[in-house]
Amino acid sequence: MSTETAGAPPRARVTDRSRSEERLAWRLVAPAVVVMLAVTAYPILRALYLSLFQYRATAPDDREFLGIDNYVTVLTDPLWWRDVWNTVLIMVVTVGVELVIGFAFAYVMWKIIFARGLIRTSILIPYGIITVVSAFAWQFAFSLNNGFVNGWLPFMDSDFNWFGQHWSAMTAIMVSEIWKTTPFMALLLLAGLSQVSGDMVEAAQVDGASWWQRLYKVILPNMRAAIMVAVLFRALDAFRIFDNIYVMTRGAQNTESVSFLTYRQVIEQFELGLGSALSVLLFLSVLLIAFVLVKLFRVDLAAARRES
């Protein structure tokens, strides 16, 4: 065996080696791929299949083929569109606000020269708090009987019930979501800022660029990629919001999200077919959002390149 290898021409030895490396590669990648197929790919395909049936968990034997009826049911139901609207609203508002505040935090962390580690760590605290706990705390803060938000906001009536109507309940949910995730956003943006060259910013300053000009012409264009990752990350996360809503309103006052609707159909109403259709639609929505965001940023990148 060893004489054979030694006697073989060099080229054959290389392919031999690369073949064994190839085998090693597939052996290394196989476990992860098998798991992903089993717990991600298979469930999606199965949801796609089940969504074509009338299928209740309480009567599994009465499964009946429906075709696309479940999708028609969902897409013609105002409830679905209301929840899509809520979810998109929460996503757009929270990610937008987080982007602005998060950037401000990131900028301060970038500029600050003392106690960097300490400040970065303390900004991470809300990120580490369990969402359920933070949602309870905010629910308490906004609550009618002993909450203190009304007392703090001079323009609010002291007996205003935040959870009594749609808009204020949505606001409370969004505030808790923003508080919880802005630090994470700040961290993502800080990662982007740390890639912006300080020399370039200084050069712009020497050339007489104002703070805003430096921000718009130098800093932001140079951290586009980081902004995109941050927005993508947070938008997809915000779109599947569940914990806050479950704790704070249980979906009352039309505050349901798409995830919440899916949960209700499956766990409370045992509608597996309909729930599967909702799962598929949820997945497609997320894909759509990812697609739109990536497109949006690409267009932007191209425009930025043309400008410069």
């Binding site: 992860a32 369990i130 308490f140 630090p183 914990d243 899916t262 799962s279």
Partner: protein
């Protein structure tokens, strides 16, 4: 003039940061106060007097300790599986790059954005068929591999300088020792940061345990706080709840302090 404005801007930002910190301070101070005093006057941060009573109550309660143990077991198992399977796949896709590896890589990236809720229904049916409902395995197995983790660690594995690999080849190092001595050390910051990121995420996970668990025996911390620390009347027992929340935060803070640097760098990398 600009200096003044900059000082003002920064002061404003710091004040804003403090505003963000206030709710946290309230959660923390509430954890030292009697529940009824918190409920009556939440902002009177010394009201009712401070004591370790809530912590003592939470820690003396075997159930609560059990919730922590459950959380530690489940979270650690998920993170360990995600790191081991993910790093192995990353070495293959980023370093060894077999023919067809690109296709696998693209498929992995495509599944990054799959939300838990979209696969929860069918995963639950599978878990049910395998008799894993209300078991730890049922909490762990669906998340044993992370698409984001594979993607991220692949980037690190692919970033090993070619010159180092070439000289290793010249010295006759086989693929396994190359991986061990060159690729893995390069991937380390990425692995550490991803592990921390995954730990924070799974430690916080509420939805899946909420679906799979049927009783308190295996409850994890977020699930137990929602389900068992809220009074029957629906009003939370604030003191113990906040103490439990603060205790749940402690391991994460230690973790984040330790890995804070590689954490920031990880996101610079992932973009």
């Amino acid at each position: 003039m600009t200096a003044v404005r900059e000082v003002l801007t920064r002061a404003g930002l710091i004040a804003f940061g403090a505003l963000f910190a206030v709710p946290y301070a309230l959660i923390l101070t509430a954890s030292f106060r009697p529940s009824e005093s918190v409920a009556r006057a939440p902002l009177d941060i010394f009201g009712g007097g401070w004591s370790l009573g809530n912590y003592r109550a939470v820690l003396a309660d075997n159930d609560v300790l059990g919730f922590y143990v459950n959380s530690v077991i489940v979270t650690t198992a998920i993170v360990a599986a995600e790191v081991v399977l993910g790093a192995a796949a990353a070495i293959a896709l980023g370093h060894l790059r077999p023919a067809g590896g690109r296709v696998v890589g693209a498929l992995v990236v495509a599944t990054i954005s799959v939300p838990i809720q979209a696969i929860a229904v069918t995963n639950y049916l599978t878990i049910d068929r395998l008799d894993l409902v209300n078991t730890r395995l049922g909490l762990i197995v669906p998340f044993a591999a992370s698409a984001f983790g594979i993607y991220l660690m692949t980037e690190y594995a692919a970033a090993v300088p070619a010159s180092q690999l070439d000289s290793a080849r010249v010295f006759g190092l086989g693929p396994l020792s190359r991986i061990r001595h060159i690729v893995l050390p390069h991937m380390r910051p990425g692995i550490v940061a991803f592990a921390a990121f995954a730990f924070v995420g799974w430690w916080n996970e509420f939805f899946w345990p909420f679906i799979v668990l049927q009783g308190p025996e295996l409850a994890t911390v977020p699930f137990s706080i929602q389900t068992y620390i809220v009074n029957p009347g629906g009003l939370p027992d604030w003191g113990p709840m906040m103490a439990a929340g603060a205790l749940a935060l402690l391991p994460l803070m230690i973790l984040l302090v330790l890995v804070q640097r590689s954490f920031v760098r990880m996101f610079a990398f992932s973009s």
